[in-house]
């Protein structure tokens, strides 16, 4: 029972992770450096 639950949990998570990773890998740029760091960000105008 414990072993079977562990296997089902593991398989489910692994399949979810590879599906989501494959999806996001095509959506997000690989080495995006255009986001400014907090230190350099201009103060918000009110």
């Amino acid at each position: 029972m414990i072993d079977t639950t562990a296997i089902i949990f593991s398989l489910g998570m692994v399949i979810y992770i590879i599906y989501r990773a494959s999806f996001l890998d095509r959506q997000l740029p690989w080495f995006r450096s255009d986001r400014r760091s907090e230190r350099n960000r201009a103060p918000t105008r009110r």
Binding site: A6, I7, A21, S37
Partner: protein, 444 residues
């Protein structure tokens, strides 16, 4: 039913691998960690799944995915040199038949770790590698924890999915070392995961893993768990900005765990203080001395499984006559590598370990002032602690060629190369900007 689940996972890896070739590399990591061919009841029993996934991963990369390859870093060069040297030592192996068998899987593990940074380059890919390893290993590690909670655990008991000493997760010391090594990485995933966006789900999964894992580590009754936990906590403490708060938090955790420690557990752990009196630890000291004597005469080592030629006299507490043992394994990564591949092999292995840790330290410094690279910095620091923990545990277990350690070496290259590419791109953009401004005609 179980086999249908495995078939679904294999199809998912191969299917998604066609559109995202790095998934095939994750498929190799999964087969190497989860052992579907050993857990299968019929369909995949003994099937060469690792070979299939390995060929698919390398083929997929070469045909579909040759983008942004890593530089030949020192860590990469040392991995390739080590793979070459362990192949060379086979030609003068003291036990050639056995050497060939071990070389077959050890060489693949070492060489695949050199390939991983080619396929795993972006943030999503790095995290996916970690998550796939974590959840594949969780199938083996969580039953140890749950069964310890239910019935108290015990030394040399088959509490995982595999039998005693079968694969990496059938051996209690390796189970304890892996659980403890994973803690710093799990803490980073909990804070920075992009693959599991829900904070509630992350908390449930990762805190749950750490709690059940802690019971699993205790339930192994392995002394390695104490060594590993000590090194891991010391590493996290050194890196923590709020050291006093960290220590204060550790007290209730240690007290809560101590409630579950039985007298049987304490009796086994205290033997760490006097290794000669304990048969298992005492034998290690004798076989280590044998290894030193062997490399004194054979400085280039005796090839894989050289320990199978050993004959040692182990002192037995309370008896005058020592016990004669044949072919005893050294149960230490350093003595295993030293005996099998000599001083050159040990120098390459230690050099590789040091280079990985130093590379991660440099990566962590490099990312210090970039808020958007906070995940990369924390991951570099966590991987550092994980490698040092594995190397400390490895002093007492023979895990030189277990994939876990080699994935950590590969991860160190992937993280370092990611930060280098990212910052190179940022610098390129900064320098490109004034040129564009200068080229623009003056309108004012």
């Amino acid at each position: 039913m179980r086999d249908l689940g495995f078939a679904a996972a294999i199809l998912a890896f191969l299917g998604l691998g066609v559109v995202s070739p790095f998934v095939l590399t994750l498929g190799y990591v999964w087969t190497d960690t989860f052992y579907p061919q050993w857990l299968s009841f019929s369909m995949f029993q003994g099937a060469p799944l690792s070979a299939v996934m390995g060929v698919a991963a390398i083929g997929g990369y070469l045909l579909l995915d040759r983008r942004a390859p890593p530089r030949p870093t020192l860590t990469f060069i040392l991995i390739v040199a080590f793979a070459g040297w362990i192949t060379a030592t086979c030609s003068w192996a003291a036990a050639p038949d056995l050497a060939r068998i071990k070389w077959d899987w050890a060489f693949k593990t070492v060489l695949f770790s050199a390939f991983v940074p080619f396929a795993i380059r972006s943030r999503v890919q790095i995290e996916a590698l970690l998550q796939v390893y974590l959840f594949s290993a969780a199938a083996h590690l969580l039953p140890w924890g749950v069964k310890t909670i239910v019935d108290g655990g015990g030394y040399n008991r088959p509490l995982g999915l595999l039998g005693v000493n079968a694969g990496a997760f059938g051996e209690s010391s390796m189970v304890a070392a892996t659980i403890i090594m994973l803690v710093p990485l799990v803490l980073v995933l909990r804070r920075h995961s992009v693959l599991i966006p829900s904070a509630k789900l992350r908390n449930a999964l990762y805190i749950g893993f750490m709690v059940i894992g802690a019971f699993g580590a205790i339930g192994t009754y392995a002394r390695t768990a104490i060594v590993g936990a000590g090194v891991m906590v010391a590493g996290l403490l050194l890196q923590s900005r709020r050291k006093v708060l960290f220590l204060i938090l550790m007290v209730p955790i240690a007290l809560a765990l101590s409630v579950f420690l039985t007298t049987r557990w304490t009796a086994r752990i205290v033997t760490i203080e006097n290794p000669v009196a304990d048969a298992s630890a005492g034998t290690r000291l004798v076989i280590w001395q044998w290894t030193l004597d062997y490399v004194d005469k054979h400085p280039l080592g005796g090839g894989f499984y050289v320990h199978s030629t050993s004959q040692i006299a182990v002192p037995v507490p309370g008896q005058e006559q020592p016990m004669i043992e044949h072919g005893r394994a050294p149960h230490s990564v350093y003595f295993e590598v030293l005996g099998e591949h000599g001083w050159i092999g040990l120098a390459l292995f230690v050099g590789l370990s040091l280079t990985s840790v130093l590379t991660l330290m440099r990566t962590s410094r490099r990312c210090r002032d970039r808020v958007e690279l906070a995940w990369c910095r924390e991951l570099a620091r966590a991987t550092q602690v994980s490698i040092v923990t594995m190397l400390a545990c490895g002093a007492f277990i023979g895990i030189s060629y277990q994939p876990t350690l080699w994935y950590l070496f590969a991860l160190s290259i992937s993280i370092s190369e990611y930060s280098r590419r990212y910052l190179a791109e940022a610098t390129e953009k900064r320098t490109a900007l004034p040129q564009r401004t200068a080229a623009r005609p003056a309108v004012v």
